[in-house]
Amino acid sequence: MPQIDLNLLLEVFKYNAKDPLQSITITFLFIFTGFLFIYQFISSNITFKRIALIVFSFFFYYKAAGEFLGLLILTALISWVIGNQVRKYESLNIKRLLVFAGVILNLGALGYFKYTNFIIDAYNKIASAEVAALDIIQPLGISFFVFKALSYIFDNYYEYLEEKVSVQDFLLYMSFFPSILAGPIDRTGEFVPQIKRTEPLTQAEMGVAVGFLISGLVKKVLISDYISLNYLDRVFQDPLRYTGAENVIASYGYAIRIYCDFSGYTDIALGLALLLGFRLMDNFNAPYQAVSVADFWRRWHISLSSWLQTYLFAPMQMSLRNLKIYGNAIAVLVTFGLCGLWHGANYNFIIWGALHGLFMAVSLLTAGVRKSLIKKTGLEGKPVLKFIRIFITFHLVTIAWVFFATETPQHALDVFSQIFGYLQPEVFGQFITEGYPTVFVLIILGFVIAFFPQSKSDFYKTWLGKMPLPLQALVLAVFIYLAAQVQFADMVPFIYFKF
């Protein structure tokens, strides 16, 4: 009889700092499939379903982030209590005091783990001091779960929530494993009512879930990981070693990479959640087809941009409304400066956010001039105008991404200096034919996905929905197998995990 090594089996359930669990590994898929099998039998009973999801979510976060599970639970409990107190009190002053306490506690935790060493470094530079950096590890997903916790407090303050949320439901909302590490940043009011759903998934819904998983694997594993490892990372580490032409391709490639990486990961999160009967918030809506930078932010990382819009921009804009258009411009600049900072304690992220704020502020202040210019040229309402606007928006966004892609402002400036000072256009041809044909083809594939007509972009989900379940499972298995073949020895960490 074969001996089962119990210690080895126990390892599967223990946190290993050297090998944290991620949601797109084969290990996870095995564990998830096992969970899904049990879940099918219990999900018709809301209590069992809730307990199973909370236990599995806690287990998943523990496997991914170890003892920080305690921080997640503590954040959830404190924010739940504060949110409920905000709801209970009539006095606006008491409500405000409670919201203030909730914001300080949540942002205090986020600030400590994420920005302490950045502040020490900035202080050392300004004051020529030598304060030693602290040994702080950033808990995975903290930027996401802190924002979820805050949204509960704010939703109670603005009376957006119709019903009080129970502590079990709130713990599940905060820890729900498909979205715990990198969003979408759901809202309690949209998530919690879905816990009560008991009817099984329809065949069409199953098709959508499988479609999300497949599109996630293609975008994340096939396109994003491959072009990063094989090309982009090398260029952005040392742009001066490459010609301007190679830097141009890397810049366009990065626009595709970050879209495929993040929207691919989101698709996997949406697919996993849907298999459990939950529809999470949409996070992407063909962002590169946006006709302005403001429109881009209505289509890119929607769960974050709508969070910032609801809880930061709108209150600020309302208090500054007497300044009219300037009040708007100030609110936009502050919101996007902070949006950059949210992405990480790094000057490049702040510059990236500030650039977006600047693009939008300029757009606001020049709206009148542009409107009359468009009228004069007779372009109003013509398809070519839409094309021009998409073209300009995509390029502004791509220029800003260069700061996101590189480590320091100098690296980003190096990319531009190579493009404008050492282009070497003949390298474009060599790149395609000799240098990196596969990378080139994958970037083109990424462009096709990003610019595919929106009205037809869900065609494969409809096809899958018409297939019988075993066939859907088979198609998914084939794609998982292909993705595993494409993957290198080690999985590339998802960009948004570090935020």
């Binding site: 303050y157 209150p315 309302m318 409304r321 009219k324 708007n328």
Partner: protein, 76 residues
């Protein structure tokens, strides 16, 4: 029920000839009324009625019906 006066103020501000505005209509579904123009629409309404809203009163409004109730409460 949305009053003609509120409807006209909104339509004039947004440069719209006509648009069906009901109690349940959400601001962001009205053409031209987006997150960026929101504060200016509110300013026009405040000017028209000679009132001043608190920020939280505006932020609490879920639809234009709520906005109408807020105006009514200020102009009684």
């Amino acid at each position: 029920m949305i009053s003609d006066r509120l409807k006209t103020t909104i339509l004039n501000h947004l440069d719209l000839e006509d648009y069906d505005i009901q109690d349940e209509t959400k601001a962001n579904t009205v053409p031209g009324w987006d997150s960026l123009s929101h504060a200016n629409v509110i300013l026009s309404i405040e000017k028209e009625y000679g009132v001043r809203f608190k920020s939280i009163e505006i932020l609490k409004c879920k639809n234009i019906g709520d906005l109408q109730k807020l105006i009514d409460s200020k102009t009684k």
